[in-house]
Symmetry: C2
Subunit: 198 residues, 2 copies
């Protein structure tokens, strides 16, 4: 069952990892099938044994990055001791993840093919993982407030939009805003939590 190639232990995974390495160094404009193939030491058409086309490889890369992000978020949840501040910590981790790899943000979202269900009744199994983690945690945190489902969903979307927007802003190149975003995130996120209890 193991996908083993004869020269390569596991070309498929190597391709994904090398590709991610390339985009995190040079951005996604400079990713090419042939470049990653030769970086893995195989001929230019070898990747087509594992991926239907470039889009298919990119899709696998996106899943990989999204999985990494999900792991980071889950780790925050598992190790957080101040449960009442969990949403702030999740938000901070979300922004920090993209700050550490600024190319990931546009890579994940610029192709407009990530499918996110923002409705209250979204199916957790099929939804975009990072959002679903945030959403489930938020539902737990907000249930005691007694908000209606609709209103609560609006609040959750707003909180996520803020966090997601901060990630977008913070990863912009050449921002001449010199103060470190890492130090500002918490302040800015806290600002918002004032509004959520009404």
């Amino acid at each position: 069952m193991g996908t083993k190639s004869y020269h390569h232990e596991n070309l498929r995974d190597s391709l994904i990892e090398k590709s991610i390495e390339i985009i995190s160094l040079e951005g996604d404009t400079n990713l090419s099938m042939r470049k990653v193939a030769s970086a893995c030491g195989v001929s230019h058409a070898a990747p087509y044994a594992h991926f239907k086309n470039k889009d298919d490889l990119i899709h696998a890369m996106q899943e990989h990055v999204a999985f990494e992000l999900s792991k980071t978020l889950m780790h925050v949840i598992e190790t957080c001791s101040e449960k009442e501040e969990i949403l702030t910590y999740l938000g901070k981790a979300y922004v920090t993840f993209f700050l550490e790899n600024p190319h990931y943000f546009s890579f994940l979202f610029s192709r407009r093919e990530v499918m996110v269900d923002f409705s209250y009744n979204a199916d957790p199994a099929n939804n975009y993982k990072p959002y679903e983690i945030f959403r489930q945690t938020a539902i737990q945190a907000l249930t005691p407030t007694g908000l209606s489902h609709e209103k609560m969903n609006d609040v959750i979307i707003a909180m996520f939009a803020l966090v997601h927007g901060l990630a977008s802003i913070a990863t912009m190149k050449n921002t001449t805003y010199n103060e470190k975003w890492e130090d500002k995130i918490e302040t800015i996120l806290t600002l918002f939590s004032c509004g959520r209890n009404q």
Copy 2:
């Protein structure tokens, strides 16, 4: 002084407009120098008389789109009668602009070359126009609150991040969130305005 070509009245502008037409229909992946050249009825190398390279053309397109957005925002400011709700209206217009042309969002921001100054002392003349419009309006609206410059700036960044994040979320493809964003934006933005007076 007018940049006139002999066969073409104004090839430079035509190229920009046709290019924007292409990306708004097919997304920026499908934009090529040769395609836009032939769409304008000129040979494939003609664009190089007006743009140093593809990046240069894209840069001009970005400026064009940003200018359109700025015009939209300015129009909102000029025609708004409820001045105390101006920030909500600006935010709504910002999101709506991108909802009407979903490809514009990733086109503007995915290349990570838009330069925005988020500091309180940003130079209005050299800053990214759409943000600067939002920022100036917010400063006017928030000055009566007596917030310190630093705190006010945090609030402004937070509000913009929310609006910008909403635009990002709302323009995601395949979102199975069926409720119309247009109807939701105002509710969500209003949610936030509760938090800004403290």
